[in-house]
Subunit: 290 residues, 2 copies
């Protein structure tokens, strides 16, 4: 919180809406790739991040459970006061976004629609591939989003459940990750797609082996980058962008667990050392208390 | 519940302690390998199982979070009335068992001590290997258990974080699982151990590639089997074994989530089709309600 924000709060004055943070949640630390893009594209914005690392991963869990967790995560961020919500987790975006939109009076986006739009704009042959968790692929959320904006496009999807543990393990190059990538992606490579959406926040860490397995001629879409570009447009529309000259934004990061090897792994996603950040203890997270 | 149990409950009569179920919890469905052993070794026993599939896996999470989850899981089982608790999850046994023993007035065991005792009895050269999750290996719980009963034994441990997702993915044979197993286990193979504890309920599913990677001369210890043998001894000591002739026990299974592909994967752990079992909806789990 900036001093002026704290001061206006102390005096009970209404806070400038534009100073409110963008809220971002993810099933764990993969969503830090979205925060990294906010730092790059919108450095003046305040950010509050919640990673549900105590219950990660969401990828193989039921739609009911992913929706329940997503509601809880959104409550946590909404209670802190945010001007906009980004559901950074593909699985939560695929399975829970419509419910969140009905339940919360809060402008929000997930990562599916921006990813789908970008793929439709970039494909030359109208054949789009999607890779993601079992939950994301099973939901067919990308298929629906693409069909809505470009009914002529065809979609081929492949679930890659081992990619998340590989990325979290930091095992992102070499023969074994490449062998796993080939096993998952060979059918996609053979299907004629020219564009593939990396439909999980973890996958950019495996970009190298994914590109090797798919071949250099296939374009890869990173949803973090296009999602943050969309956040900027939405904030602009609503006059909610923080004014230029307000200085660098502040970032607050909350996790429901501080996992083993967190600093090492989290730094890989954020793209900068994690030591600079104030990670709170999980017991400070209100909805997590019993 | 048997009819006679229901009837005695209806009349408010004290229930025969021996008829109370053995409670078993695990981070997910891996603990079904322990239930499978109970069905084999103690077919007359009633069993109530809780799998925390909504928050699985525990392997890379902090000791604080694993302990909190373990307390909640034990509350759930204790409230249903159990005569004995088996902590089937190695990570929970390694990180939370002492806390559970202090907090609950309930006879209980984890899988660490039985596994350690068996390894000490079976090793010929006093060099024991342990493989498990990051949490289990980091806790050094097996090292301590072995040092207590056989201070002359040496212990070499290897964390194998990708084994759980591999087993859950059903990717248990072929070049890639073998390559992963070799990467994790080559140092252990070279260390001179003659006995290796499979320190995670998921690992028996990967027994083939683990044995191939370690070499046929190394003995593998499955903790489920020796843990249930220990449960039998403890129940006998306390006069809590169900009398022979009482018929087959009843089993009740609870999960905090019914994951995608659950029937397929769960059947692999239990060793029989999952269709015969009554899986309840997660909303029926009291502690899970908000």
């Amino acid at each position: 919180m900036t001093d002026s924000m704290a001061a206006s709060r102390d005096r009970g004055e209404p806070r400038d809406q534009r100073d409110l943070p963008i809220g971002v949640f993810d099933s764990g630390i993969g969503g830090l790739t979205v925060v990294r893009e906010i730092l790059r594209q919108l450095p003046g914005e305040n950010v509050v991040y919640f990673g549900d690392s105590a219950r990660v991963p969401y990828g193989g869990k039921s739609p009911e459970t992913v929706t329940r967790f997503s509601i809880e995560n959104t409550h946590f961020l909404a209670r802190r006061g945010i001007k906009f919500l980004v559901v950074a987790c593909n699985t939560a975006s695929a399975l829970a976004l419509p419910v969140l939109q009905r339940r919360f009076d809060l402008p929000m986006i997930g990562v599916i629609d921006p990813g789908a739009r970008e793929a439709v704009q970039r494909t030359r042959n109208g054949k789009i591939g999607v890779i993601g968790t079992t939950g994301t692929v099973g939901s067919r959320a990308y298929d629906r989003a693409i069909a809505e904006i470009a009914p002529d496009c065809s979609v081929e999807a492949a679930a890659c459940p081992l990619f998340v543990p590989l990325a979290e393990e930091g095992w992102t190059e070499g023969e074994i990750p490449l062998g796993i990538a080939r096993t998952y992606l060979d059918p996609l490579r053979g299907s004629g797609v020219d564009t593939v959406i990396l439909g999980c926040t973890h996958y950019p860490l495996l970009r190298g082996v994914i590109a090797d397995a798919l071949g250099a001629e296939i374009l890869l879409i990173d949803t973090a980058e296009v999602t943050v570009a969309e956040v900027r447009r939405r904030l602009e529309e609503r006059g909610l962008l923080r004014p230029p000259g307000a200085g660098d934004g502040e970032r607050h990061f909350f996790l429901s667990d501080v996992p083993v090897r967190f600093r090492e792994i989290g730094g890989r996603f954020l793209g900068e050392p994690i030591d600079d950040l104030a990670w709170i203890e999980q017991s400070d997270i209100p909805w997590y208390e019993r």
